[in-house]
């Protein structure tokens, strides 16, 4: 895939645009998230619970790609509170996934604006765990990748979503997600020093 397409993918992921493939009106209307949005806007709090269960892994993965691990849960909660307040402004219920990812990114950026400078604990105070260390190193390596790749890889490797699910929830095309996964994985192997 060309660089332009990759850039396009990044923009798609950033903007949360809908899939370029035409979707029939019936299919659009049948999307479960659109129905959930309707119910939430009508005041159904139970629907919001289902909405949370559906999108929490996605939002968690998006936020994890950006902020320290200890802050992820708080920011995820803030994302959903903000979504609840502003859901009425969403014009198309089918694009709620992409809209939610944009909200998650924005709140992650805002976290850094408000964050106070912190001092890291010394080595002897932190509890050393080899597995945790390895996981942290892998996560740090993924976070150092370009935006489009790191989000897709975290959703796949950390949250356990399939490529199709990632495309469905974020509003990207299957091809874009496939490219992001493949290229992201290639770069990650290089960083981790793993032979391809």
């Amino acid at each position: 895939m060309s660089e332009n397409e990759m850039t396009g993918n990044i923009f798609c992921l950033a903007a949360g645009t809908e899939k370029s493939a035409p979707v029939s009106a019936a299919a659009q209307a049948d999307k479960p998230e659109a129905r959930l949005v309707e119910r939430i806007c009508a005041g159904d709090r139970e629907a919001f619970g289902d909405f949370y269960k559906m999108f929490a892994p996605l939002v968690h993965g998006i936020v994890l790609a950006r902020v320290p691990r200890d802050e992820v849960d708080d920011i995820v909660q803030n994302v959903f509170v903000s979504a609840y307040k502003n859901l009425h402004a969403l014009r198309d219920g089918n694009a709620v996934g992409a809209w939610l990812t944009t909200t998650a990114r924005n709140l992650s950026i805002e976290y850094y604006r408000r964050a106070q400078p912190t001092e890291e604990l010394p080595e002897d105070v932190r509890q050393k765990d080899d597995r945790q260390t390895e996981a942290s190193e892998i996560l740090a390596a993924i976070r150092s990748l370009p935006e489009a790749y790191k989000e897709t890889l975290i959703l796949r490797l950390v949250e356990g979503m399939t490529g199709a699910e990632i495309a469905e929830r974020t509003g990207l095309t299957d091809e874009s997600v496939r490219v992001n996964l493949h290229r992201g994985m290639k770069m990650l192997r290089r960083k981790l020093g793993v032979a391809e």
Binding site: F48, A56, A135, H182, R189
Partner: protein, 220 residues
Amino acid sequence: MKEDYLWDKTGNDAEIERLENALAAFAYKKTAPPMLPTISANVLPFKKEPARRIFPLVCAAAACLAFVAVGFGVLLPAFMNETTNRESAKTIESVRRVIDENSKQNVYEPGVNNSPDSNSKETEVSVAGKTESSKPAAKSEIVKARKNVRQNVQSLVYRKEAKAERVKAAKAENRLTAEERYAYEQLMLALAVTSSKLKLIKNKVEGVEEKTGGGSGGGR
């Protein structure tokens, strides 16, 4: 196939599985949804701003301007009169001096050879000791001489006046102090502004009257 496993977890890939196992600690753990805020759509009552009444403001502005104009109208003539009086007093004085000078030069003294020099120097001649035969001629001469004298005196007076005014104008600025000059300039400026504002108000009022159908146009 590696790519299949990466895409939809079909097949197997040891490396990817290892990464998944390592990163599982960071995965989302099911938590309860956040406490939702109670958003009430309380709309504040719309406060209609009272319509600004322009006409009273215009009237007040016009009244202020008129007051200022009247004030200037009262002060300015007094100021101008003072200067005019000074000028007229000086002019009268200069005319008197001219007349005195001319009368002194042209007074007839019996026994003295008085010969009229030029037209500009001719003045009134009092004739004494002339024969009766030359009385009508002398009389007409006297009348002519008187006319000439008057004309010359007038021309002299006018010239003097003009000169005096020029001198006065040149000296006027020097006589005025800096403060007086500034006040004078400000006065002139205020008058100009006042007149333009009054004109504007007048145009507006006339425009309003036209819109309302001429107001009280009839009844002349």
